[in-house]
Symmetry: D2
Subunit: 280 residues, 4 copies
C-alpha cells in the first residue's frame, strides 16, 4: 500500500498549499491513504469541523491533532461525530473524540489504523502515551486479515512531541509493529527518515505545511518581539506568503503481507525548501 502523511497545516496559507498540491501528489504518488495533521489549520490554532471537512473533501482520509486540538473550543462538541478526526490517545479518560481510528483505504480492500499520541517532554503534563498505544497494538495487529478480524493492513502513528528523543523512543518501541512512526509539532521537516531495524519507517518530524519564511509558521514580527522584548506585542498569526509555503511529509510503501515499510521517502513540495518528490 502507499501511504502519504503530511505534517501540521498552519493557517490559511498552509491549507491552501495542501489543497493546491494535493491533486498533483495524488496523481504522482497514487496514495491509498492520506493523513494530515491539522492542529494548526484554523488560523494557527486548532481546527474546525468545516476545515476538516474541506480536507476530507479534497481526499484526505484522516486528520490528526496535537496540543492545539481544542484551541477552537467548539470542536469538543463536534469531534464525537467525526470518525476521521483523531486526537492524542493519552488525553485524560473522558476526553471527547478518539485516540485511534481504523478506516478503509481508498482501494476499498485494506484497513488502515491511525494512532495519535502526545509527548510529555517540554510539553504539558499528560499521561504516559506508551501504555494506551500498547493496548491498541495488542488488539489491532499489523498483517491484515491473517491476524484475525482485528488485523489491519497498515498502521500510522503520529507522535506529536517536542523532544526528538521522545519521538525516537516511540519509533524504536513500536519498530516492527507499525508501518510508520512520524513526529509532528516542531513544524520543521527532519532529514532523518529511515526504515528501522524491524521494518518501521521513521522520521522525527514531518515538518509543517505552511509558510517557511516565518517563525514555525507564524509571522516573524510578533515572534521576534516576544522573544526579545518580553513585553506583550502583536497577536500571533500565520504567515501569508503562498510563495514560501512548502507542503511537507512522508511517503511510505508498505509490504501488503506484513504491513511494514518497503520504501520510505520524504515529501517537500513548493516554496523555498529543498524539494523532494518520490517517483512511483
Amino acid at each position: 500500500m502507499r501511504l502519504l502523511f503530511l505534517g501540521d497545516i498552519v493557517g490559511r496559507s498552509g491549507r491552501e498549499g495542501v489543497l493546491r498540491h494535493l491533486p498533483d501528489l495524488k496523481a504522482r504518488l497514487k496514495p491509498d491513504f492520506i493523513v494530515v495533521n491539522g492542529e494548526n489549520a484554523a488560523g494557527g490554532f486548532g481546527i474546525t469541523e468545516k476545515i476538516a471537512q474541506e480536507l476530507f473533501d479534497a481526499g484526505v482520509d484522516c486528520v490528526t491533532l496535537g496540543n492545539h486540538a481544542w484551541d477552537q473550543k467548539e470542536l469538543l462538541g463536534q469531534i464525537g461525530r467525526l470518525p476521521q478526526l483523531v486526537r492524542p490517545i493519552n488525553y485524560p479518560e473522558g476526553t471527547p473524540g478518539r485516540g485511534f481510528t481504523i478506516l478503509p483505504a481508498k482501494n476499498g480492500r485494506h484497513k488502515v489504523m491511525v494512532i495519535n499520541a502526545m509527548g510529555r517532554v517540554f510539553m504539558d503534563p499528560l499521561d504516559d502515551p506508551f501504555p494506551p498505544v500498547e493496548k491498541v497494538l495488542n488488539i489491532h495487529r499489523l498483517g491484515g486479515p491473517r491476524m484475525g478480524p482485528a488485523g489491519v493492513d497498515a498502521i500510522i502513528m503520529d507522535m506529536h512531541a517536542e523532544a526528538s528523543s521522545e519521538k525516537m523512543i516511540m519509533g524504536h518501541v513500536l519498530d516492527g509493529r507499525v508501518s510508520l512512526v512520524v513526529g509532528t509539532h516542531c513544524h520543521v521537516p527532519t532529514a532523518d527518515l529511515q526504515i528501522l531495524n524491524g521494518g518501521t519507517a521513521y522520521q522525527t518530524d514531518a515538518g509543517m505545511c505552511g509558510d517557511y519564511d516565518t517563525v514555525i509558521g507564524m509571522k516573524k514580527e510578533a515572534a521576534i518581539h516576544k522573544m526579545l522584548r518580553k513585553t506583550p506585542g502583536e497577536r500571533y498569526s500565520p504567515g501569508e506568503n503562498d510563495a514560501t509555503v512548502t507542503v511537507c511529509g512522508v511517503f511510505v510503501e508498505t509490504d501488503d503481507r506484513t504491513g511494514l515499510a518497503r520504501r520510505a521517502e520524504s515529501v517537500r513540495v513548493g516554496g523555498r525548501l529543498g524539494q523532494s518528490l518520490p517517483v512511483v
Copy 2:
C-alpha cells in the same frame, strides 16, 4: 569561500565517523573553513583538549560547544589556551573561554568569525543570547577588509538550542549580517535549509555526527528504560555501530565580496539516512 559545518559529534563512533569521512569531504567540497560542534565528543558528554586537538589535526578549523561544554570539568582550565574552541557567548561574565573567535581561512587570505550561542527555551536559565551577539556584530562586520580592520569575510553562528522557534528567530534577526545560522543540540538534521531573504543561509539543526540507530546518539536501551520505567537504569553511553553513523552538516558557498550565502546544501554521508553530498 566554501564553509563546512558539521553538527554535534557524539562519542567514539561519531568522532571516528568524522575522521573517516573528512578526507573525502575535503577532497570533494574543498572547504576553506571547517567547523564542528564537539559538545558530545567525549563519550557523549563534553570534550577534552586531546579530542579537540585530534579534530584540529584532521583539518577542523574551529570547534563549538553547547550545554554539555563543561561535562569534562578539566576543560574549564584548558579552554583559555585553545583559541579554536568556542563556548556559548551567553554564559555568565567570568566564564572561561570565548563566545566567538576570528580565525584565518585555509586559504590564508580570509578571516572567518565563529559565534556560538545558546537558546533558553526548554533549556537551563541563561542570559539573553541576542544582546552579546549584536555587540559582536556591531564590531566585526561581514564584507572583509572593506569594513575596516575589524571586518571579516564570513560569519558562522552556531545556535545551540532546543526549540525550533528560537533558532529561527536567531536566523531572521541576523539575516543579512552573517553567512550562516545553523542550529545544533537536537541531534537530528532538519530538511529546512534555505537562504533567507537577506542572504543568510539557515538550517534549524545540523544534525549529529553519530550513530542514528540510537536515541539521539545514545544506546536505545538506557533511554527507553528511563522514559518508560522512571527508575534508574543503565548509564547513558553513545551508540557504537559504525555502520549506522551518519556525518551531518551544512555546506555554504559565500560571495567573496558580501560574505553572504550564494549557495547552501545539506551534507549527510554514511549510515542509513538519505545521503546528501553537494557537487562542487
Copy 3:
C-alpha cells in the same frame, strides 16, 4: 485520633533532628500515627532500608517518598518487603513498592491509610495522580468500620509537588474525603494551614526536617556556585549544622466518627524558624 506528619528529612542532620525531637513530640502530642517523608534522608538523595528501619524503630509508622525515591538504587529491590514505605502512586504500572498503604494506629483500634502522589507541574512527566487516588478512595472510605471492611479511620495524603496550585487542587478535590492533604518537596514550611470547607486539613508544604541555614537543606556554596556560575562545582551535600535544624510538619486531630479534621496546627521545633508546638 491524633496524626503527626513531618516533611522531607534531609541528610544526617535532618535524621538526627527528627530522632532528637521525636521523644518530646510523642510525649506532648501523643500522636496515634506518625508519618515522615524520607525522600532525602540518605545524604540528601533517597533512602535506604537501614535508614527507614531506624525511623520505624523511633516510632515512625509510615515513611513516604517523592521524586528522589530511587536515588539509592538498592531500594528498588527492597521496597517490596517494606509495608510501611510508600512511594508515589502515579509511577508507571510495574514500579516496585506501593502507592498507598493501610496500617494500624498506635492505639491498635484504628486503621490509617497513607497515600503518596506526585505532582507534574515543573516536575518530570508522570501519569495523572488524580485517577489512581480516586480509585483508592472509592474503595477505602473515611469513617472507619461504618464504611464496611474497607473503611479506614484516617487518611493522610502526601502530595509531593513543586507548584502550590497543584497541591491546592489536590486539597480541594479530596476535601471532605480525607483527613489531611499536605504537600512536600519544596523544603519550606508554609503558613497556610487551614481546614477546608469539607473538613480536610490542608497545608501547601510541610517544610523539611533539616538545616535551614542552607539552600533547601543543601550547603550554600555548591548551590550558589551552580546558580551563578553555570559551571560544575562541588557536589551537593546536606547542611550539617544541628543548631539550625528545624523539624517541620503538621499535627491534626480528627473526629473519630468522620475521620475529618477537628483541629490542625503546624509543628516547627528547633533551629531558627518561628517555633510552633500545639498544646494537647
Copy 4:
C-alpha cells in the same frame, strides 16, 4: 525603621482586603515604609495606574511587580511616570519602568531602596538577576548618609520567583547588604522567616493578599477543570469571598545605624489562615 511588606494582591477581593486592614496595620505597626506586590491586582492579571494610585493614596509607599507586570498592556506607557512602581530589574534593556527605586520614608528623614527581581527556574527565560542587583548594591549601600550621598537607610528586595532554592540563594548572596529579601509569586505565605547570619531578614514567600479558599487566589472550578480535564474551560478569575481573604506579609524592624534587621515577624490578618500580628 519599621518596614512592612505585603505579598501579591490578587483581584478585587485582595485589594479591598488590603485597604480594609491597612488602617489597623498602620496604627499598630507604625510602619515607616510600606511595600506591596501588585502584579495580580487588576482582576488577577497585572495592575493599572488607577489601582496603583489607589494603593498609594491608602499609604502604600511602593508597589512591586513580577511576571504579570504587563498583563494590562497600557501600563507599558504609564510606568515611566510612576516613580513608586518598580518592575523586575532583569527585564531586557529598554524595558519601560525601573528595576529599583529610592523613596523617602514616611518619617521624612530616611531613604528606602526597593529592588524587584525575577527568578528564572520554572519561569520564562530572562537575564540573570544577580549581576544587575550587584551593580545597584555597589552604588547604593546600606548604612545611610555614613555611606556617602548614595547611601540608603533600608533596602527591600522583592525576589519574584517560583523555586524556593532560587529565592534562598538570593537571600544568602545579599545577606548583610540588604534589610530584607522576601519572595513573592507562589501566593502562599511561608513559615521560614529568619534573620540570616549577616543580618538580613528573609522569608521565602510573603504569601498573597487574596482569597485563600481558592487555587492561589483564583476560583477553584476553572483551575481544577484545567488541571484534570486538559480541555478549555472557564476563564480564570479571582476568588470573591471577603471572609476568606488573608492579608499576608512581613514586618521588619531595622537598626537605624546599619539598616540590617533587628527583628522580623510574619503578618497574616483576616480570613482562615493562622493569624500573625507583631506587637510593636
